[in-house]
């Protein structure tokens, strides 16, 4: 448990100091006026991709064999992505930075967190009804970790 707490703390600190948890930088990204976030995500993907390739080639981790189950595409990917994008713009935070901004002492972030929990709760409660419309995986699987 402690190791995950430490991973989260390191990740949160980086998000906090990078601009990824900063309202102005998020709007600057969507206004196409600030390169910062594109640089961050681009660098992260450019370095994570070869790392993942290597880990999968080795086939195992410290805690057993690598299992990265492929996630089937469904209509929720596009619809959910669009809705999330609208929310990211409105709040100026994506999920990680919501938690980070709460820690930084930004009071309004508590409202974003409350909204996100209600939104996720509503999604789970309505899963049975949304499943058919969006061709979502069976309930035991869910839409996947992410």
């Amino acid at each position: 448990m402690l190791v995950y707490l430490l991973f989260g703390t390191a990740f949160g600190f980086i998000l906090s100091r990078s601009g990824a948890a900063d309202y102005n930088y998020i709007q600057g990204m969507f206004l196409l006026e600030e390169f910062q976030l594109y640089g961050i995500i681009g660098t992260a993907v450019a370095l994570t991709a070869p790392g993942l390739w290597l880990i999968k080639r080795v086939g195992r981790t410290w805690r057993g064999p690598v299992r990265l189950d492929p996630r089937p595409f469904n209509r929720g990917n596009v619809a959910g992505g669009l809705l999330f994008g609208v929310g990211w713009s409105i709040a100026g935070m994506c999920p990680g930075p919501i938690f980070v901004n709460v820690g930084e002492g930004k009071i309004h972030a508590l409202a974003a967190l409350a909204g996100a929990l209600v939104g996720a709760g509503a999604f789970g409660a309505l899963y049975g009804r949304l499943q058919q419309a969006f061709r979502l995986p069976p309930l035991v699987v869910g839409t996947g970790q992410g």
Binding site: Q36, V45, H108, V118, G146
Partner: protein
């Protein structure tokens, strides 16, 4: 541009990106966990909600690591503030204050509405910037690439409308 947080200078984007990659890869190598934060909302929901969606094994088995991880995110934000000029509760929101300019009550309502979209949208899409944008794209997963393009498009259109049309 300084951060809203205590006017601190931001990390260089390459350093921040490398740090994010390091945490992502170490999380997989040391703990065999796939980075993904938006599922953390479901984990928190599962502490109080009793619907079958929140009782499934896949969720209960991964919340053991993801709950401490998201608590760590809060701690990281706190440390960052405390070590960088001091921790003080604040309503400061940069260009939102200059252009949209709602007071505390309006800001809470605005943020709650944004949060609803984020919570519902990320779970319908099966992930957020971390799970799809960083991990899934790095793993060349088609659903992640499609979802990432979708949320970038949603954010782009919304911000352009807000700052170039409605509050121009």
């Amino acid at each position: 541009m300084p951060l809203i947080l205590n006017g601190l200078p931001p990390l260089h984007w390459a350093a921040a990106g490398a740090g994010i990659a390091a945490v992502t890869l170490l999380l997989l190598v040391l703990a065999n966990r796939r980075l993904g934060i938006s599922s953390g909302f479901e984990d928190v929901c599962s502490l109080v909600l009793r619907q079958s969606y929140f009782r499934r094994e896949g969720l209960l088995s991964t919340r053991r690591w993801r709950l401490p991880f998201v608590v760590g995110l809060v701690a990281g934000g706190f440390l960052s503030a405390a070590a960088g000029g001091g921790w003080t509760p604040t309503w400061a929101l940069g260009m939102f204050d200059e252009r949209i300019g709602l007071g505390p009550a309006g800001k809470l309502a605005w943020m709650f509405a944004g949060g609803l979209f984020i919570g519902f949208g990320t779970r319908l899409g099966g992930g957020c910037t971390s799970g799809h944008g960083i991990f899934g794209m790095s793993n060349l997963e088609l659903p992640s690439i499609v979802t990432t393009l979708s949320f970038m498009a949603g954010g782009l259109v919304t911000t352009q409308l807000l700052y170039r049309v409605v509050f121009a």
